[in-house]
Symmetry: C2
Subunit: 327 residues, 2 copies
Amino acid sequence: MGAAFEKGRVVIGLNAAIVALDGFEPVFLSVSEQGDAETEPGAHVLGLPYGSFNPLQHRTMEIAVRGFVNEQTGLSLGYIEQLYTFGDRGRAAAALKQDEMHVVSIGYLALSRMSDDHPLGAFWRPWYLAFPWEDWRAGEPDIIKKEILPRLEEWARGIEAGRARQQAQDRVNICFGSDAAHWDEEKVLDRYELLYEAGLVLEASRDGRPAARIWSDLPRFGEPMIFDHRRILATAMSRMRAKIKYRPVIFDLMPPSFTLLQLQKSVEAISGNQLHKQNFRRLVETGGLVVATGKMSSETGGRPAKLFRFRKEVLLERRTAGVRVRP
Amino acid sequence: MGAAFEKGRVVIGLNAAIVALDGFEPVFLSVSEQGDAETEPGAHVLGLPYGSFNPLQHRTMEIAVRGFVNEQTGLSLGYIEQLYTFGDRGRAAAALKQDEMHVVSIGYLALSRMSDDHPLGAFWRPWYLAFPWEDWRAGEPDIIKKEILPRLEEWARGIEAGRARQQAQDRVNICFGSDAAHWDEEKVLDRYELLYEAGLVLEASRDGRPAARIWSDLPRFGEPMIFDHRRILATAMSRMRAKIKYRPVIFDLMPPSFTLLQLQKSVEAISGNQLHKQNFRRLVETGGLVVATGKMSSETGGRPAKLFRFRKEVLLERRTAGVRVRP
DNA sequence: TCAAAAGTGTTATCCTTACACCCATGT
DNA sequence: ACATGGGTGTAAGGATAACACTTTTGA
């Protein structure tokens, strides 16, 4: 059972999806990058803060992420967690010159309060500009039925009949589900990957994927990003939406004290749908997730509201300490 | 916002935790490795199948994993998923010579049916030999109250008084919970990491971590493994125990048809606890997860049982298609 | 006839959902 | 007064946990 080590050495790219709330709008920290010279000469494209991992310099990858984010933007990160390691050549590689390709890219999710620091050389960008089909707070976005589904269905029909086509059609249904009740807000990454494979996001054509057909009106669903950064951002969003249900991560985006409606709107901003007011309040209060501070806020436009704070003790108690996001 | 690429290039180690069921005993595929020359001269230690990722050879890391597993053991993997990327120097590195260290190791989980192939140069090893404290099928294992908790508490007391000690004591409580009702079977990795930090698994001393004290009877809780392979195996177990609840992964370990008790015992083997028979049957049947094949099995020792098979259609239907593991 | 496992039925309880309604403030 | 958001009560429905009990086989 030999070690079977070859001399394949690669550069490890670390990428940080840093999420915050601007009011009740989810935002991520982005830097402006020079786009690929051939397909977008001179254009500036959004990117996540990134750097490479040098094991001789950094004891852990997490420390490396904190380091280059601080260098590039001046931000000091709080909560941070690893997302996924992407390693396929076909994607990021195509946008880079052969000799300096960083084939493996590791995504990190970090949570931040927008007000804490003012980033330098970087700016906050609304999430839903990159994923407009993910915002269901005002009902199903028009873009899905009008733009996305017809093109996805055409793409699936273009696959030669048989198992492969059936699977493609199943994927379309699972991801962008026929009726509204079946929308799974956690499938952010699956939906982005599907659009990528169908050639409906700009990154696909930039990476040199063959398009199903030549669109006279090239669909540009959502703002494109450099490399595979939008894929990483989609992973971050998926993780957030899943985790909010069983871990009190939402409080890393909130000020220390808040009203229950502020908390609800923040959860809605992340999960992308609307919640039932009365039940949300009850669940969050009786669940012991928050406690009243005793102070009141009268900035709310109606009756002054009690201010609450997160009850840190829940971290030691309950196996599931998140907020319900249905209905 | 410059790219800020340094010339830090590293080898990427891929490691496969391949899980199967031997009857109702969970097992993983292991290879015998030469232990570290200094601390264990000539000894053979268990390891997971592993290899390195060469982007010039393999299009994706998943393909690379399938490749070297097949080369090393003859096994063709079915279901496979990425677990986590570990990158801290202090650990695997200490066990390797400087010039060929592979600092970043990516863990993969694969599911297999033991009977399908007979692995060559590798063998199936029971999970719970590596993690004896994780098997609660016959109630709380003695080792926890008798061996582990006293030593963890002594370790926590050894930390200088203050926040750090309090946090350590909280961790001990959360991980190995004071009372049986609070045992969280998903915290496999947290528990292993805690034991590692407290110097109570052999890997800790092998990696050169300072022990809290010199044990006259060196605790060897669970079978040690090479590099950080036991950590990867713990991650695999955590993932399995979490995923079984909302995805029908258990069926990748089962034969095509099975009785409901076989299914229950298999779930219990993975989750490590006992389930309520009648309710398990009802949930699994009314949940539409399985359908009767119409055939019967009389090998069960009692009244012949209906044979069931997994209903593949659930993959297209339900947002949560797993099995309850409580109580 | 007994042990072992299969399989059915019923009830109490809890959690969620949905709806109805009152309260306090600013304009 | 009325719009806006804050806050409480309660009843219907569904899911689940706990228990009791019958059936069918092999030894």
